[in-house]
């Protein structure tokens, strides 16, 4: 399996999970929220500063159908994460091995060591 085929397959799986399967996820409180409720400190939670976001709470503002609303939010979130994480890792990675001329320029690097 080529790297490209693997990454594309993986991304399709991720989009399917975030866009479709997420609708069927449990809506029960998670471990921390459950403990906060049981132990009586959930009320110190304050209003979220990003409550105004069009995707707050994994829904899409203006979309009535809950399945579509969550699906769109999931797909948008996945693509934003992919763009940011993909961008950061492409910038950070080591380049090469490349054709000779590139390597001759390597000593110019001032990485400070």
């Amino acid at each position: 399996m080529s790297t490209r085929a693997l990454v594309v397959t993986g991304l399709l799986v991720a989009l399917l999970l975030a866009g479709v399967v997420s609708y069927y996820a449990s809506s029960s409180p998670d471990g921390l929220n459950r403990v906060a409720r049981d132990k009586g400190f959930s009320q110190t939670q304050t209003r979220h500063h990003a409550d105004g976001s069009p995707f707050a709470g994994y829904g899409t503002r203006g979309v009535g159908d809950r399945r579509v609303s969550k699906g769109v939010a999931g797909v948008v979130g996945s693509l934003v994460v992919l763009a940011l994480a993909g961008g950061v890792t492409l910038l950070v990675r080591r380049r090469g091995p490349r054709p000779e001329p590139r390597e001759e320029r390597a000593p110019v690097e001032h990485g400070g060591r």
């Binding site: 399996m1 790297t3 490209r4 693997l6 990454v7 993986g10 991304l11 799986v13 991720a14 989009l15 999970l17 975030a18 399967v21 997420s22 996820a25 449990s26 809506s27 029960s28 409180p29 998670d30 471990g31 921390l32 459950r34 403990v35 049981d38 132990k39 009586g40 400190f41 110190t44 939670q45 304050t46 209003r47 979220h48 500063h49 990003a50 409550d51 976001s53 995707f55 707050a56 709470g57 994994y58 939010a73 999931g74 948008v76 979130g77 996945s78 934003v80 994460v81 992919l82 940011l84 994480a85 993909g86 950061v88 890792t89 492409l90 950070v92 990675r93 080591r94 380049r95 090469g96």
Partner: protein, 231 residues
């Protein structure tokens, strides 16, 4: 385990934020050693997969749910430094776009669900790799074990932070017991998903998996000796 705004006081949130900044700075340097042209594409996939899977809360009984944290998964697949960068991207997007996890608590969430699960998951994984036979088939189970341990440790670290800067007066013993209790169950789910995901990629492209490198290096040596004199 996304900590909302208001659970921890301001000084604690500032401190966890500072730890997160330093950790991400170190990870930016470390990721350069882990990422090359071949492995970089996998990192974007790992972050996307962690985001998607974190939307999938699974029930752990008695009206409580949990979702994958993903630090161990990411660390085994792309290396611990790159993993922390991937997790950080996920938490930033969740906080800003989805109002999931507080904004003043962003550092706390990067530390607990990113740094702690990456470091603990990876250390357990590497520890097991050191004592287990060097077989490709053991990469996924070792990753799953790291995932299993990483979740309750993160829960315990939250309890520690709450002891320092919690906004309510909660007896620590009962808080620790409740946090660890639920998160051991969530850790089982974490282990299953991690084992499945790592196992799938090891099955098709073990050469891309950071945590399989040592096993493959050994295998390469074996092949050379069986072929006779190397050129």
């Amino acid at each position: 385990m996304h900590v909302p705004d208001g659970f921890l006081d301001a000084p604690t949130s500032v401190a966890t934020g500072a730890v997160a900044v330093v950790a991400v700075g170190v990870a930016l340097r470390g990721a350069r050693r882990e990422l090359d042209d071949k492995t970089a594409p996998l990192a974007g996939l790992v972050a996307t997969f962690v985001f998607a899977t974190q939307m999938l809360n699974f029930p752990v009984g008695a009206g409580t749910s949990g979702h994958l944290l993903g630090g161990a998964l990411a660390a085994v697949l792309v290396g611990p430094s790159t993993a922390l960068l991937c997790m950080t991207v996920v938490f930033v997007v969740q906080a800003l776009l989805f109002a999931d996890g507080g904004i003043t608590a962003l550092g706390t969430n990067i530390d607990l669900m990113g740094l702690v699960t990456v470091v603990v998951g990876y250390l357990v994984f590497r520890g097991l790799q050191a004592v287990l036979p060097k077989r490709l088939s053991l990469v996924a189970p070792a990753a799953a074990a790291g995932a299993l341990i990483s979740v309750p440790v993160a829960a315990l670290c939250f309890t520690g932070l709450y002891a320092v800067g919690g906004q309510a007066d909660i007896p620590l013993g009962t808080l620790a017991a409740a946090m660890v209790g639920w998160h051991v169950l969530i850790g089982v789910g974490e282990a299953l998903i991690t084992g499945l995901a790592v196992g799938s990629i090891v099955a098709v492209r073990p050469d891309l998996v950071h945590g399989a490198r040592r096993v493959l290096e050994r295998r390469t040596l074996e092949v050379r000796t069986s072929h006779g004199a190397p050129t």
